[in-house]
């Protein structure tokens, strides 16, 4: 046994220790995405001002994850709840956390309209290419040919369309003051930087911020560690290009 393996993994300061270990399956991407979020919030020093909303989907398991005031709401409805908080209390830093089903299927009208209205909120979406919580059904983000419980012979794009490109859509409908990016759990340093920029954009009162994070669901993908990693690192980015899509220009003066 090496020394490092018995050391406590480093937790972001704003994680709530009492509720760790967290409730996600081993190898789940949600934990990593929330680690990046926690690190970004620690580095910005905004923990006291955050209101965190989580969706229904495996994101709900984060309802007691952080030392921030948190609201667990309904499937797809985190965006309007957090919008309501922000509109009533603009001084708060408001984050809506959801899955790909929550953001791109049942709550897509909220995402589109919050983006169009340039709501000063941060929407963070974990894309694991299927519905995790309900047992692995097809999502708008399921890859072509990918097998899920409701596409057991592989996703047929003729019948069901192509995977939703969320950040591309959000970038197309937001003004220049929005921040839009796609990161991945396989590059947590970059993902953390994206989240910092997204949060800073809200702190500055600029506009809407949106980050999609490619995330694993080994339980429903039925993959071992190596295959899980390969799917996140190699398969997903073929459809979902990682990088920043919209970065607000630095304000003059």
């Amino acid at each position: 046994m090496t020394v490092t393996s018995v050391m406590e993994p480093k937790m972001p300061k704003c994680w709530r220790q009492e509720t760790k270990p967290h409730k996600f399956c081993p190898g789940c991407g949600h934990g990593d995405v929330l680690k990046a979020l926690g690190t970004a919030i620690d580095e910005l020093g905004i923990q006291d001002r955050v209101v965190f909303g989580c969706d229904i989907g495996c994101s709900l398991l984060s309802w007691d994850f952080f030392n921030f005031d948190s609201i667990q709401t309904h499937h797809g409805r985190t965006t309007p709840v957090i919008t309501g908080v922000k509109r009533a209390r603009p001084e708060l830093i408001c984050i809506a956390y959801m899955g790909d089903g929550g953001g791109y299927a049942i709550g897509s009208q909220h995402l589109v309209n919050a983006a169009s209205r340039n709501e000063r909120i941060f929407v963070l979406l974990a894309n694991n290419a299927q519905y995790g919580m309900t047992g692995g059904q097809m999502a708008p983000t399921t890859l072509p040919g990918m097998k899920t419980e409701t596409s057991p012979y592989g996703r047929d794009v003729e019948w069901t369309g192509n995977p939703t490109l969320g950040p591309e859509m959000v970038a197309a409908i937001t003004p220049d003051s929005a921040y839009v990016a796609r990161g991945t759990m396989s590059n947590l340093r970059q993902l953390t930087q994206m989240m910092k920029k997204a949060l800073q954009n809200q702190i500055d009162g600029n506009g809407f911020s949106f980050v999609e994070a490619l995330a694993s669901c080994p339980t429903n993908w039925r993959t071992n560690a190596a295959k899980t990693w390969e799917f996140v690192e190699k398969e997903m980015p073929q459809y979902f290009k990682v990088g920043e899509l919209k970065v607000p220009a630095k304000k003059e003066g």
């Binding site: 030392n67 609201i71 309904h74 409805r77 309007p80 009533a88 209390r89």
Partner: protein, 361 residues
Amino acid sequence: MADKPIQGEKRMFVTGNEAVAYAALAANVDIMYGYPITPQNEIMHYFTRLAPKFDKPFLQTEDEISAGFTTVGGVMSGKRSFTATAGPGNTLMQESMSMAEMMRIPTVVVIMQRGGPSTATVIYSQQEVTMTCYGANGEGIRVVYSTCNHQELYDYTIKSFNTAWKYRIPTFVLGDGYQAKMRESLTMYDPEARGIKMVDTYPLVGLPGSPGVDRDPAHLRNTYNTEEELYEVVSNLVKDYEAVAPEIVESESFDCDDAEVVVLAHGVVSRAAVEAVRELRKAGIKAGHFRPITLRPFPDKELKAVANQAKKLLVVESAQGQFAKLVHHSLYGDSTPMEYIFKPGLGITSDEIINKVKAML
């Protein structure tokens, strides 16, 4: 910035929608969220004209799902927030109201009933009784005020904020298209000038201090892992609701003491009932009228007392028995004969009631 929307008292001749917008501002509401639907639109129209003078924002959302959930968010942030809707919009708002029930979020929603089912008419009905009282997957942990005139729209809009925040129960003002669109006189007032203190609001999230450092974070959820856990939560909701129900419940009766036939109606239809009873009394017929003002909680005790004395009951409503179901439930075990006038989506005149009562004697 203007001082107060209403200084002291003021006699006004306005539509019901205008009365609601004024009442919300007089109640010192912080924010309104909404989506257009007839016959409720003018609440938003008047609100958006008046509210900026008092620095109160309005957000037009993408649909009523969003209007309901943004209202939930506004309330949870500690602000006196409300929305208004009707018909299919009321349908869409039920999802957020079930969250409000479960988490005891003091939302206020004004409903102006229109014809149903479906898109139906934009005019009038009393067909949103079941949905407003018991909509969504829940147990009806709500307060529903059914108003009958503009004065009441004004009074109960103000009161609904206080009921919601005092008891932390989602509260509804149930009007209808007639009340919304018609003009009549009422006295608007500054609640303070009448000694009505607005119940203080407070945040459920975005609390002062440092979560995890000098206080625990507020972790608010509506999802539970076990049947037993949920059962306990819902049992407590029901218990709390039943404990405060006697304080909340309101009703009115008119000439019931010696009445042979008591007309049961709620909302705007009770105006026809009052008129009918007056005429019948003039003709020497012993008629009375009982009217629940709160449909949730329902005035069971008061109605039972009236039913005990009456020879016959007549239930009158602009729906196919939605109100009658509440009456049946309330009077379970009582054997007073009951007859009905059901006119879904249609107005009811005093003459129809008079003729029916005469036929019942």
